[in-house]
Every structure is written in structure tokens, then in C-alpha cells.
């Protein structure tokens, strides 16, 4: 018994898109929190710590996110730790987002001219205060466009949670496709909803980048 693809099905997809947005926000907030710590540790005045964080970034960026999802979802269950699809997804996306954001933010932190560090240190500020009062405020301006740009990758990446059975937009799409068998309409609609979430973010990122270039000519933009 096939169902037809009506506005009701479109509405179901829009409801499922809420989970895409919630999952994206969770991934971005958790991944960003870990990422900022990693980025700062990556430029900290301790060589061992810098190497460790560099290794973390290189390693995590070499693992497919889908592998992380499968590893957390199936792998941890065997140890008697119950992991549902939501927790596995948040864990996996946190790990991968943290590595990519850390690398973006490290670049921004290091793009602040090193004379700023020297000046702050010679005024008697320690590493923490220099970072907080002098470096971060300048780095945040530069970090904004690529960070917003990366949010697009996060939103698109959450579609992989469908493959471990978490019902967000992509999963809802495959489910509705199996009962209506209208792949063109269903996946066309799903793609359109993703596009409506991602495109404004892409535009914003581009706009911020342009503004940064106009507003602060004296700072070499990355």
C-alpha cells in the first residue's frame, strides 16, 4: 500500500529537520567547547602539550565521521555501556567538530601578529591574561567567517546520524521514500530543506569575510 507524497509528508520532513538543527547545535556547542581548549593548548608555551594537541588534530581529521559514529554506537554497547543513537551521534560529532574548529581557531590565534605577544609580555601580562585581553579579541574577528562557514559542514554532517538510525531529516527522508516511493520528490524536498538551512549560513560567512577585509585592511586576513 503506497502513500502519496503530499504536504503532510513535507510537514513531517520539516518536523524532522528540527532534530537536524538540535543535533547541529549540540555538535557545534560541545565541539566548540573542546575545540577552543585544544586550539589554546596548541599554542601554549609547553612543547609537549603543543605536540599532543597537534597529534590529536591530525589523528581525528584522518578518521571518517561515519567510522566514529559506528565505533561509538556499536563499539561501546559491547562493553555494557548503553549508548543510544543520540548520544553516539553527539559524541562522534563533538570529536570531529572539535578537531576541525581547533585547527581553524589555531590559525586565527597565530594570525595575530607576534609583536602583540611581545608587547603584552613586556607590559608584565602573563600567558593567560595576554591571551584573554589582547589576542582573543583580535582573533575572534578573524575567526568569525570561517567558523560560520564550518557550521554549514556541521549541519550537513549531521545527516550521517541517519546511518546509525537516528531520525533526523535524512533518515525521515529515507523512511518517507520507502512508503511513498517518490524518490525525486522526497529527496528533492529533503535537499531543499538542507539548502534553506545551509545557504543563509554560507552567505553570512561570505558577507562577514568581505566586511573583515574592508574594515581592517591593516590586519593581514589569514
Amino acid at each position: 500500500m503506497l502513500r502519496t507524497f503530499t504536504f503532510y509528508e513535507v510537514w513531517l520532513l520539516i518536523l524532522a529537520a528540527r532534530w537536524t538543527i538540535i543535533l547541529s547545535l549540540a555538535a557545534f556547542v560541545c565541539g566548540g567547547s573542546v575545540g577552543i581548549v585544544v586550539a589554546i593548548a596548541r599554542i601554549a608555551p609547553y612543547r609537549a602539550l603543543r605536540y599532543l594537541m597537534s597529534g590529536y588534530i591530525q589523528f581525528v581529521q584522518a578518521i571518517p565521521v561515519l567510522m566514529l559514529l559506528l565505533l561509538f554506537y556499536f563499539g561501546l554497547n559491547l562493553f555494557g555501556i548503553r549508548v543510544d543513537a543520540w548520544s553516539a551521534a553527539v559524541l562522534a560529532f563533538t570529536l570531529s567538530t572539535s578537531a576541525f574548529l581547533a585547527e581553524i581557531w589555531r590559525g586565527c590565534l597565530q594570525a595575530v601578529p607576534s609583536g602583540q605577544w611581545d608587547a603584552a609580555r613586556s607590559l608584565g601580562l602573563n600567558f593567560g591574561r595576554t591571551l584573554l585581553l589582547i589576542i582573543l579579541p583580535q582573533a575572534v574577528r578573524m575567526a568569525l567567517p570561517p567558523t560560520v562557514g564550518y557550521m554549514v559542514q556541521v549541519v550537513k554532517g549531521t545527516s550521517l546520524a541517519a546511518l546509525i538510525g537516528f531520525t533526523e531529516l535524512a533518515k525521515a527522508g529515507t523512511q518517507i521514500n520507502t512508503i511513498t516511493f517518490e524518490p525525486v520528490l522526497v529527496f528533492g524536498t529533503v535537499a531543499a530543506i538542507y539548502f534553506l538551512i545551509c545557504w543563509p549560513l554560507s552567505m553570512l560567512s561570505r558577507h562577514l569575510e568581505k566586511q573583515l577585509r574592508v574594515g581592517r585592511m591593516q590586519i593581514p586576513a589569514m
Binding site: F59, Q61, A62, I63, P64, V65, L66, M67, L68, L70, L71, F74, G75, L76, N77, L78, F79, G80, I81, V152, K156, G157, S159, L160, A162, L163, A170, G173, T174, N177, P183, V184, F187, G188, V190, A191, Y194, F195, C198, W199, S202
Partner: protein, 225 residues
């Protein structure tokens, strides 16, 4: 019995199936390599069209790039695999995977290479014309080569993402590394061991490709200035 602490690892089960995993890894590399070549070709043509082409071409390239870059690869893959048969194009999982991957990379590399093409100074092309270079020679030596050199790091990071993203095509059961891992997992239930081994294999492949890209740069771009 299976508490958190008394789980016994059995990597033996995975090692018995290692030849299958190796075949899967070979497929992953083949898929990715084909994608890199054809995706870059599409990217080159599109980026030159975007910068030097007439308005309809520019508009067409922009919509292609924007649309692909703002929708998930998984959905593009589903569209190729499930929706194209409606237009009379029935493809095998492997063919669908290659097509989706090439179309996807084409858009990303178009955007990356465009930055390099735009950075080529107008005077360089005029100088080429003044020296009597033919149109294709100008495109090859004065546009494509310097543009690729300028964007090489961004381009190779994107190529690494292609390798990682190829695991997604397991969703339509193309026989690459992740799909093989899923098959073995469903037969043996040694999930942790299998996915750990496969993760290590991906890391090894990615590190190898990073090294290859670095040496390609040293042999092609670094020498000719």
C-alpha cells in the same frame, strides 16, 4: 556476563577476514582516486567558466556550486541512486557512488580553484598574448598551472575529505572499506574490534595520501618556481 570489565577482545575474528578488508580498502582508494581526477577536471573547467565565461555560464556554474556545497553528500548520493532510475538511468551502487562523489568534488574544487584563477593578474595573460601564445597555451601555462600552485594546500585538504567521505557510500552498499566492515560486523558482532581496525586502516590511508600530496608538490610545483 558482559559487564564493562569482563569483555574479552577477539581480534582474531577480524584478522581472519583481513583479506576482505584489504579489498575494501583498495576499493576505497580506487573510488577516491578516480573522484580526485575527474572532480578536479570538472572543477578546472567550471572555475575558468566562472571567471572568464559569459553571463549564463557564470550563473550556471554558481548555481551548481552553491547547490552542491549547501546540501549533504548523503542526500546527493541517495538522489543519484534512488531518483535517477525514475529518469531512466539505472546505475549499480558502485557507479552511483562514483558519480555522486565526482559531482560533489567538482563543486568544491571549482570554488577552490576559482580563487586561484581570479588571483592570476590580467597583465600575465596580456603578456602571454603579446608573446604570441595560443589560447590553450595561455590557459595551461598562465592560468591553470599558477592557479593550481596557489590553491594546492586547500585542494589537497579537500582530496583528503574525499577519502573520508567515501565511507558514506557504504549507505548504498558500494563495496568499499566501510561497507565491508558493516558486513563483517553483522556476521560476527565483533563491532568494537572491527571498527577499531578499520579506523586504523583509514588513518593509515589518509596519512599515506598526505605524504603523497606533499611529495607531488615537491616534484611538480616547487621545482618550476
Amino acid at each position: 556476563m558482559d559487564g564493562p570489565l569482563n569483555y574479552t577482545f577477539q581480534f582474531g575474528t577480524v584478522m581472519d577476514r583481513f583479506p576482505e578488508l584489504l579489498a575494501g580498502a583498495a576499493m576505497t582508494i580506487r573510488l577516491s582516486a578516480v573522484t580526485m581526477v575527474f572532480g578536479l577536471l570538472i572543477g578546472l573547467v567550471c572555475s575558468i567558466g566562472k571567471v572568464y565565461g559569459p553571463r549564463p555560464v557564470r550563473w550556471l556554474v554558481s548555481s551548481y556550486v552553491e547547490f552542491i556545497r549547501n546540501t549533504p553528500f548523503l542526500i546527493q548520493l541517495y538522489f543519484v541512486f534512488f531518483a535517477l532510475p525514475n529518469f531512466g538511468l539505472r546505475l549499480s551502487p558502485d557507479a552511483s557512488a562514483v558519480i555522486a562523489m565526482v559531482v560533489n568534488l567538482g563543486a568544491y574544487s571549482a570554488e577552490i580553484v576559482r580563487a586561484g584563477v581570479e588571483a592570476v593578474p590580467e597583465g600575465q595573460i596580456e603578456a602571454g598574448r603579446a608573446l604570441g601564445l595560443r589560447r590553450l597555451q595561455i590557459i595551461r601555462f598562465l592560468i591553470v598551472f599558477p592557479a593550481l600552485k596557489a590553491v594546492y594546500p586547500a585542494l589537497t585538504s579537500q582530496f583528503i575529505l574525499v577519502l573520508l567521505g567515501s565511507s558514506i557510500v557504504s549507505a548504498i552498499a558500494a563495496e568499499e572499506l566501510t561497507a565491508v566492515a558493516n558486513t563483517i560486523n553483522s556476521q560476527t558482532f565483533r563491532s568494537f574490534e572491527i571498527y577499531t581496525v578499520v579506523t586504523i586502516m583509514y588513518v593509515a590511508i589518509v596519512f599515506a595520501f598526505r605524504a603523497i600530496f606533499t611529495s607531488i608538490y615537491a616534484f611538480t610545483f616547487a621545482r618550476r618556481g
